[in-house]
Structure formats: C-alpha cells, structure tokens
Symmetry: C2
Subunit: 231 residues, 2 copies
Amino acid sequence: MKPILETDQDFFCDLQAPCFQTLTTDEVELVRTSKTQVLFRKGDNLTKQGTFASYVLFVIKGLARQYVEGDNNKTFNLRIIKPGEFVGLSSVFERNTFNYSSVALTDCQVFLVEKEAIAQIIRQNGTFGLGIIRRYVEQNSNLYDTLRTVMYKQMNGRIADTLLYIDSLKAENPEIFQLLSRKDMADFAGISTESAVKLLKSFEKDGLIKLNEKDIAVVNQKELLEISKKG
Amino acid sequence: MKPILETDQDFFCDLQAPCFQTLTTDEVELVRTSKTQVLFRKGDNLTKQGTFASYVLFVIKGLARQYVEGDNNKTFNLRIIKPGEFVGLSSVFERNTFNYSSVALTDCQVFLVEKEAIAQIIRQNGTFGLGIIRRYVEQNSNLYDTLRTVMYKQMNGRIADTLLYIDSLKAENPEIFQLLSRKDMADFAGISTESAVKLLKSFEKDGLIKLNEKDIAVVNQKELLEISKKG
DNA sequence: AACTGCGACAACTTTTTTATTGATTAAAAA
DNA sequence: TTTTTAATCAATAAAAAAGTTGTCGCAGTT
C-alpha cells in the first residue's frame, strides 16, 4: 500500500553523501528514526514560503529551483538546488517557517529529517556541525552577491551573471538549460521576460552565447565575465 | 518585507468561519499565536503526501484538489477542498505525515495552525471538538463511498458519480468544471483519460449532459443517478 | 531638454499540453 | 471459450502556454 518504497538498503546507500560520513552509528540511527523519504514529482513544491517548517529536506536525486515570492505574483529565483544539498536548514535554528519556496525541476528523491534530530546531532557531533556551518556561510555569501547584483547591476550584467551561474552547473547537469524557461531565466536576473529574450538574442548576435532550441552554450565566457563585472 | 500581508483585521474577519464560532477569547488567542497565513498560488501544493505534518491547514478562500499518489505517476483524486474546510487534520491525532497530496486549483488563502494548538483547544472545548468529529465522520463516510465505487462500479457508474459530485459543487463554484482537465475527471473516476473523454461524449449524445468548451452542464440528473446506482 | 535603461503592452509565432478518435490488446466476467 | 470491459497505443486536432518582436512611455541621468 505504501506508495513510495523505502528499504534500509536505500537508506544506507543514500547516507553515502559526504556530509553524513562523520555520523556515528547512534547518530545514523537517530536520523533513521526521524526521517522519511518522499518522491517529489516535477512541478511539486518542495517548500512553500511561509508554511511551518518542522523538518529539513535533503535532496538525494533531481534538481529544484529555489525562489522567493513577492507581492503580486512576482518571483525571484535564488538558486538551483542540487543533489547533496539541504533545503530549509534555517528552520532548525531560527525561523519556524520556510522563508522561501522551491519547486522540483525534475523528479526529486528527497529525505525529510525532523529538525530536532538534526539539532541533536549538531550538538554532539562537531564535525557534522562544521559541515552545516560551511554550507550556511556559502549560501550567505551567495546571498550577498545576489543582493549586490540586484542593487547595482543593470540588465546586461544581471543576465550575464545568470548565464554564468547556470552554465557553471552544466557540467554536472547538461540538461539544466532545457529545464528553465525564459521566464525562469528572467526571474534569476530580476528582469522582465521580454528583456531576457531580447538580451539573449543580442548576446547570441554578439557571439557570446549560442542558442539551440532551449539549450544555451556559453561561447565567450571571458566577455560574459567582463559584462558581469561592468554591471 | 513580508510578502504576504496579514493584519489582525484579516484574522478576526477570517475567524468568522462557522467552526471557529464556539472558541473563547483565550482559545482565539491561542490560535492566533500559533497560526500563520499563506497564499498558495494556483498550482502550488498545499500538502505533499509523505512529508512531515506539524500543522493543520484551513482554507479561507479558493479551491484545491486532494489526491493520493500511487507508484508510477498515477494519481487518484479524492475530493475538492472548499473554503471552510480543513486539510491534514489527521496529523493532529495520528499520523506524523500527510497521507495525501493537494494542489491549488485557484489561488488559495490558507491558515496554518500548529497541531498542538488544535489539540489543546479540542481538549478544552467540546463543542469545537464535536465539529471536528463531525467533519471526520463525513470524510470517513465519503471514503467508504469512494471505496465502494472503485471496487464495484464500472466506467459508466464511476464517471456518473464524478459528474454528480462535481456538479454538486457548481452552485457555489460555477467555474469548477473549467478548473478540471479531462485527466482530472478521469482521476476522480479512476479510469483512463481516453475512456473519460469517450464516456463524456457518449453521455452528451444520450442527452445526459451538455459540453460547452470546458464547462459541463448536467441535463438529466435523474438518469445519471440511475447509472450511478446501476454501477 | 535630451538620453538611457527597462518595464509594459500588443500582436504574433512557435512549442507544448491537452483533448479527441479509432484500432488493438489485455483482463475480467459470463 | 466467448463476451464484455476498459486500458494502451498511435495519430491528429485543438487549446494553452511560452517565446518573440516592435512600440511606447516612464523614471532617472546627463
């Protein structure tokens, strides 16, 4: 009757992820008893901004898009969530609600771990905690970059940033561009969809990128970096 | 900065819903301190089957579709969630995870109340508890009906049931049929999309219903009831 | 005042999704 | 086994969504 199969085999296999390597047997047991595994289908929300967050998500397989929702149907994309990454970590420490939404770009196999278990493990296992902090610091730093981009750069620089960011994921996920619409790209850059379309075309004309169907190939990374820097 | 506005005004207004009328001032206060309000946009998941459930949802405005997910991308629709209804009540009492998914058919304004608050109120306010039980009993009874339909009826009876059910919501929500695709209808009846299409056409030919664009008008309810009964 | 950057709108094209239909097979019931 | 029932497959049509392009106007800058 259970819709999603979940065997111990799967479980131990999944805990091969680097960040779980330092856990003791007891700690693994703690995670095991306070976790569940869910298959999010393409288009499903992994998190919804504003809902109560009593757990942390750990993505095993698949890609998701993380975004913040504004007032009038506006969304701003923050990052692509990859396998091996946590979602909603802040719920463990500070906030009681998710402060962003996320949606599956492909089917996503995800672990949910109750936040108390994560807190407990961090308390007793410094190495694990260190890994968590490292992730936090990185996300924080990325947020500052994003903020700077939004505050100070204009269209060209923004879309260049977006292109460089998505392209940096392409090695591991060759299909990444196909999973994103022009609106998604625009929402990463914080510009209108129409502007995104025009800029992409113009970048192609200038030989910076190559558009094939939905895929995008970065041709002249150097110049894109230049545009990004210029702002 | 807060994306979704939420004033006390809104709150008190919203608690006009019948089931909250019996709450004392203290109880209202308890709900107030353990609730949050979220706007789910059309297509957003209100709940995802299998995720941890630490709260109950109460729909203020909008319509949603509740369904169970099977193994290979199969879904079976259980009901339409209307304003004034709870979602995920069972999390309060028994299960730690949502046992079904639901998705917004229109933008939905929703209250989330932490389950401990609901449990506490039920403990001290029997009238409120009675209302909850009443809802439960009704849902339970509906589930039996659904089970019977799935077990014993064949296509004609099933789609007739679906038509009668959705049509019963049409008075309050005239746009309800437009919000549902053929696949949605099929998933209510538990048949293939193609079969649903064919049956609807054939019902129209027999003068039982009338198809206009996406809307469906029940013409001969009596006969539909007959078909439903025959199975 | 003229210029720049960029969003908003409208018209239009392309792509994707959904709906429809008939033919073929699998499963269940008689 | 024969009949009935309904899913699956394939091909097509229709509708909806996404992408594209040009024009306009507003808000800051220069």
